[in-house]
Symmetry: C2
Subunit: 359 residues, 2 copies
């Protein structure tokens, strides 16, 4: 199977080799060194300030999103949230559950964020801003500079879900003055799922210190205290953390985050150019694309039927959408250990489906 | 390295082979089949009733403990909890955090639970009972029949942490009338850490239905709804879940839970007999042993120094204790892919340390 989903994605041979090893005992200096190196490289690749901190939680990216809210926001906040797809909707659900006062900026699926969307909220006393830098469900890459500028003008604490855009599109945490960034092990980190990574700026650390988290497992004060010595309060997904270590060092050796972003951008551009070249019956539904994924609306067949066909008859996974986009949208990811040759095979499959009048 | 800790433990070759594979995309019928088979085998091995359910959470066993409390207990409960070590203490912390009224039965480290400990609480209106069937930190295997009988007489909902005893010591969920049992992927399931497994009896399902969970990520209503079709609400540790599948089938093929318990019991007995045979300077600190682990107090040297020595000079991990037991107790686990020959090597190392007057 070739995997073109947006996670879990294909891992490198070095990452898979770690997966084959016995998982070592972890309350040791050796494992602490791995964790501290992971922290250091995550700060480097996210361009965090030196006094930022990193924690690794054993959970999904959604667990990281909820952890951010539970540990840095309170009922005294007034939050603004972008809701342009399933993950924006999840932030809204979480703010509701945790009783954080908020307003949401609803964007139509596929639409970019523009200055006029933010204008009505200027100078209205908002204290926090939450968004997906890349709304994975619709493949819309929001203009983070627009949001960062708004936050700087309005004194908002900025929580950025970078789950599917980290290492795919440029991100400079310090320059953006973001408080929290969240990513997951199974996106461009290209490791098995199981770990959410959070980079926390000093502004976040201060909020965490003054917030009582309602869930012990996700209490960032405990996570931060333990990570001081490269440990975690609870048994973590040790295997995945070791794989993250190998992967971060791989990226570092290859030239760092910018090189990896460039590599992904080239794959995305190549795939998109082939779509045009072969005149495939798919429309790109996003006004503002990330390098991570191409969201497509097939005009001649149900998106979900195409997903099933390509899985069962061609041995490839593309990424289906859920909910009301199930039949209208599928996505093709450009993250993980993929090459131009893989995309050639995918295009070939689409062309074959077209020849056979399936699409 | 040979790993004699209580988790992560050594995996079989078949489990490690899965670790080397690419992680597949999981919103598919194929992965649903794996999850439904996992549910079926977990019910079989825990001797749960047919109408029980199983959920797989991407977190540690401690996450499972907190999930049980958040989803089945409320402020209207009156809980009784056994606190005889670090994990009993964790239950106490969690009950405090979640504002569940409780009383704790404090037991001295290493001491067994006896009828006189429960007697004062008879007929006092307790609605829930929480305990570690095996308090991993001190290696005390509590008399679960005593607790089950108390719960039956007093109408208590029973939450059992079986994290380190599942597949090591007999457990019959239906006969005990337990509401919840919790285990983790990295104990006798002998897979990498990352997954907590919860078996939920109908009594638990009813409580879950009527309890508002304060954390979306751990909301068992969402987990149960998704598991109906073999899925999870959030991206799970797909790789570990596939490894659990291989492992459960391995156990099934070898004769089921009872065979695995027998195998572990033999290793424990063998190790303990060798301790006596070689007259090693270690005292067993538990009045009531599990087959999972032997907790030892070394009489001639700091337990932590022995842990370091055996790691660095002999290439083996034994399990250190934390907190105030750091220097006085270490543990030797009998779970995971270990053989008599492995224990011979450990005994040999201890004898060598004795010859060299390190212990």
């Amino acid at each position: 199977m070739i995997n073109f989903t947006v996670g879990p994605v294909q891992s490198s041979d070095a990452v898979r080799a770690i997966g084959a090893e016995q998982v070592p005992y972890f309350r040791t200096a050796e494992f602490s060194d791995v964790m501290l190196e992971n922290e250091c490289l995550m700060k480097k690749f996210s361009h965090a300030t030196e006094d930022s901190r990193v924690v690794f939680l054993t959970c999904s990216g959604s667990g990281g999103m909820e952890t951010a809210i539970m540990n840095t926001l309170t009922k005294a906040d007034k939050a603004l949230v972008i809701n342009g797809g399933s993950f924006g909707e999840r932030f809204v659900e979480l703010l509701t559950l945790h009783e954080i006062p908020y307003d949401e900026i609803k964007l139509e699926h596929g639409k970019a964020l523009k200055p006029e969307h933010l204008a009505p909220y200027e100078g209205k006393g908002y204290t926090a801003f939450l968004l997906q830098k890349h709304e994975t469900s619709t493949g819309v890459h929001y203009d983070i500079n627009l949001v960062s500028d708004f936050c700087k003008r309005n004194g908002c604490f900025l929580i950025v879900d970078t789950i599917s855009t980290f290492l795919c599109d440029p991100f400079d945490m310090a320059e953006l003055n973001a408080g929290v960034m969240i990513t997951g092990s199974q996106k461009a980190l290209a490791c098995p799922p199981g770990i959410a990574v959070m980079v926390l700026a000093p502004s976040a650390l201060k909020r965490i210190e003054n917030t009582k988290c309602c869930c012990q497992y996700f209490d960032l004060r405990l996570a931060l205290k333990n990570q001081e010595r490269g440990q975690t309060p609870w048994t973590p997904a040790v295997g995945v953390l070791r794989q993250i270590n190998v992967r971060l060092k791989e990226i570092d050796a290859a030239g760092g985050a910018e090189t990896e972003i460039g590599r992904t951008a080239k794959l995305a551009q190549y795939f998109r150019s082939q779509l045009v070249k072969y005149n495939l019956p798919f429309e790109i539904i996003s006004e503002s694309l990330s390098n991570a994924v191409t969201p497509l609306h097939p005009t001649t067949r149900s998106a979900y039927e195409i997903f099933l066909k390509i899985k069962d008859d061609y041995g490839m996974w593309i990424c289906p959408n859920g909910g009301d986009m199930k039949d209208s949208v599928f996505r093709v990811g450009h993250i993980g250990n993929l090459t131009v040759a893989d995309f050639d095979k995918l295009i070939e499959a689409f062309v074959d489906m077209q020849t056979k009048r399936f699409i």
